[in-house]
């Protein structure tokens, strides 16, 4: 709770001192490098501190850091911290003006607006246009429009490079479907009927499983909301919540019915890992969640459903068809000590080769199309090809799953509490209206400041 009382001026002084220290070194490097075009060795000898959230990206980075050192002469100091703690650490250190890292990864849908309002990130758009700083092999043009959209601030700066996108898809147990003679549902109504047929509490099998726990459950609901063709807030400012519209209430009813009638007991406590656990035990027929779970589901040492899993597009709803999408990116703080070398690290991590590797191990879908079509990558996939095809099919359906606002955690908690209450039997209209009324002032305040 005790914050170091660092004033803005002190922070700026600190940053100035840092860049003052770094400047002479950079100048020499720049003169050296001006002779050629892009040169990976340009910032040789520097050490870059990286903060990564626990997950496949961090594992890949650790595994291949030696290769990066050989290629660039830049040494990486990698710190890996679980998502929640990493988010706190990043916010507090960036606010202090002296972050301990030069590059870090973050979630666009959680942290983007906060960073952009505080002006903490380095604008890299000049470098992206500079042939000395942007190698052709990066294939910047192949990075999807949505990815670049995530990386661009509301005033047109580019202050991140997208690394991974996550769509929502349906994991289903083909064996259970075959046993009950159910076909994979194409519409949300069919999905409800299918869940009813597959639900078999006596055998300990849930027709449907998904996130029910406060906060995490919001994205499962927004996936359902996309079936009504709607997102959570207006696109134009002033931002208004759309979480109590008739469509929002209808989708909340759907969420309530699906999880409380055909979900497992205690689903109000389920996050993705509980849902994943149940699905991998073969105790759930359908599971709707993000694309990143193919690897564990197909892992023989952890899963009992290896080879029986189908990957399907989210079914279409009465008014729309969507797959909610979340993005992760990498960025450099303005106050970082080794910005250029940090930028090189980003180029490498978000580049074509590493994107292919991430795909191969089922660690996530890059914001690129080439690796998804590259036969060299596809032939070495450690997860079924059906998964990659499904992910490619989600791309055109992509919709925003969470509003890009500063208090997104509070948004998720407030709406998430309402959704959890629904599972306890509360009335959908009343809960959604109450939660919306409670959160709108928080949103107004955050946008006003």
């Amino acid at each position: 709770m005790i914050r170091r009382p660092i004033t803005r001026r002190r922070a700026l002084q600190g940053a100035a001192a840092f860049s003052g220290l770094a400047a002479p070194m950079l100048n020499t490097v720049t003169t050296y490098a001006q002779s050629g075009a892009f040169n990976w060795q340009r910032f040789k000898g520097q050490t870059v501190e990286v903060l990564m959230e626990t997950g496949p990206r961090a594992d890949l980075m650790k595994k291949y850091q030696k290769e990066f050192l050989d290629q660039t002469g830049i040494k990486l100091g990698i710190e890996v911290i679980p998502e929640q703690q990493a988010r706190q650490k990043v916010a507090i250190e960036l606010n202090s003006g002296k972050p301990s890292f030069d590059v870090f990864n973050f979630a666009f849908h959680v942290q983007k607006r906060q960073f952009e309002k505080a002006g903490w990130l380095q604008d890299i758009s000049p470098w992206l246009k500079d042939p000395q700083m942007m190698p052709a092999e990066y294939e910047l043009g192949d990075v999807s429009k949505m990815g670049m959209g995530f990386a661009t601030t509301s005033d047109g700066q580019i202050n991140a490079l997208p690394i991974l996108c996550d769509y929502f898809m349906v994991y289903y147990n083909k064996e259970l479907f075959a046993k009950k003679g159910v076909a994979f549902p194409k519409t949300m109504d069919e999905m409800m009927v299918a869940a009813g047929k597959l639900h078999d509490p006596a055998a300990g099998i849930a027709g449907f499983v998904g996130r029910g726990v406060r906060n995490a459950n919001v994205v499962l609901w927004t996936q359902m909301l996309s079936g009504w063709g709607q997102e959570t807030i207006t696109n134009t400012r002033p931002l208004k919540l759309l979480t109590d519209t008739p469509d929002a209430i209808a989708s909340a009813e759907y969420y309530k019915k699906m999880l409380s009638s055909y979900g497992p007991k205690g689903v109000t406590g389920f996050n993705w890992n509980e849902a994943q656990g149940l699905f991998m035990q073969g105790k759930a027929a359908m599971w709707v969640d993000a694309t990143g779970f193919a690897a564990p589901v197909e892992d023989k040492t952890k899963s009992r459903v290896v080879g029986k899993v189908g990957y399907g597009l989210p079914p279409s709803g009465p008014k729309g068809h969507g797959s909610v999408t979340f993005g992760t990116g990498m960025a450099i703080p303005k106050a970082a000590a080794h910005k250029e070398a940090g930028y090189y690290t980003m180029l490498w991590m978000t580049g074509r080769a590493m994107a292919g590797r991430m795909l191969q191990v089922g660690g996530g879908i890059p914001f690129r199309t080439a690796p998804l079509k590259d036969p060299a990558v596809l032939s070495t996939l450690t997860v079924p090809k059906e998964w990659a095809e499904c992910a490619a099919g989600c791309a055109p359906l992509s919709m925003s799953g969470l509003p890009v606002i500063v208090p997104v955690t509070e948004f998720r908690d407030t709406i998430g509490t309402a959704l959890t209450n629904l599972l306890g039997g509360a009335d959908a209209a009343a809960e959604m209206k109450r939660a919306t009324a409670e959160f709108q002032p928080v949103l107004d305040k955050s946008e006003a400041s």
């Binding site: 709770m1 406060r214 007991k265 208090p407 955690t409 959890t420 209450n421 306890g424 400041s449």
Partner: protein, 302 residues
């Protein structure tokens, strides 16, 4: 005469002061450390609670707005309700059970030392580790608790996954964890009791219950009050078990003050609001401690 005495006294005092003066410097280290570690953070928290302060945006002085907002904040008020509900149960039940356990373990029987050690084991475990074990036991499909219920023919419960049963379930963990603590304190009290009143009571043909109620209870009361104070403060400050088991959920059904505070400070980055909650929390604890200390005075042997 009186004047002269006063002069002498004043002279003595002055001499005393002169003698002490060189040693006054020795106060400084303690003073500096305590102001840096206690007083400064304290005043800074008060200051933060008077500002609208969100990490990443400018701080604005808003006076008492944070406190006024809390007054009408449904989630905050509910969290106070949850805290009281939880505290009452998590204090009363371990107190009763702990006292009973102490009475049992005060009797001499074979293997008493072994069973005493066994009984205080829960207290030695880390709360988070305990919480994780209980989380598994509470699991509605795979948990052992529901299995036990079905074995004796009762319907399975939702435990921490339902808004109505979550707090009693959490109290169950607290009971398991903290009954031994109450037992140890009361046992210490029982060991220090004189034997004469009991001998006199036996001669008078008193029943076991009469001896407990008229002798043991009043004599051991000061120890009970100490246990009560410590248990109450611990229960008010509960965090780890709830956080690790259900995160304040389902929804906000088990969100106690400390968890609400954590969410404000570290999830929403609302430093100002969080500081205001800290101040309210602090006031509640101080007020309650005063009441309990007063009770302790009352309970003293006179």
């Amino acid at each position: 005469m009186a004047g002269a005495e006063a002069t002498i006294a004043a002279g003595r005092r002055a001499a005393g002061e002169r003698r002490l003066r060189p040693y006054l410097w020795f106060i400084w280290p303690a003073l500096i450390v305590s102001s840096a570690l206690i007083i400064f953070p304290w005043i800074f928290t008060i200051w933060m609670s008077l500002n609208d302060w969100h990490i990443g945006s400018k701080q604005v002085f808003v006076g008492l707005d944070n406190y006024l907002n809390l007054l009408t904040n449904r989630r905050f008020l509910e969290s106070i309700g949850h805290t009281i509900y939880f505290t009452v149960l998590a204090v009363a039940l371990p107190m009763v059970l702990g006292t009973m356990a102490a009475l049992v373990f005060h009797k001499k029987f074979r293997g008493r030392g072994f069973f005493r050690t066994l009984f205080i084991m829960p207290m030695m475990a880390t709360p988070v580790a305990v919480a994780l074990v209980w989380t598994m036991m509470f699991h509605p499909q795979l948990g052992v608790l529901n299995y036990l219920l079905t074995v004796v023919g009762l319907p399975p419960s939702q435990w921490v996954y339902s808004t109505t049963t979550v707090i009693p379930s959490l109290v169950l963990v607290e009971i398991w964890l903290w009954t031994p603590f109450v037992m140890i304190i009361v046992l210490g009290g029982l060991a220090s009791l004189p034997t004469e009143p009991y001998e006199a009571a036996l001669i008078d043909d008193a029943t076991q219950w009469q001896m407990f109620w008229n002798i043991t209870y009043p004599l051991v009361l000061p120890f009970l009050v100490v246990a009560l104070i410590m248990r109450t403060i611990d229960a008010l400050k509960v965090f780890e078990t709830i956080w690790a088991i259900c995160n304040g959920g389902p929804g906000t059904a088990s969100e106690v003050l400390n968890i609400y505070l954590y969410a404000q400070a570290f999830a929403y980055n609302q430093v100002g609001t969080a500081s205001a909650v800290v101040m309210v929390f602090f006031a509640i604890i101080v007020a309650l401690s005063l009441v309990l200390l007063w009770a302790r005075q009352k309970a003293k042997w006179s």
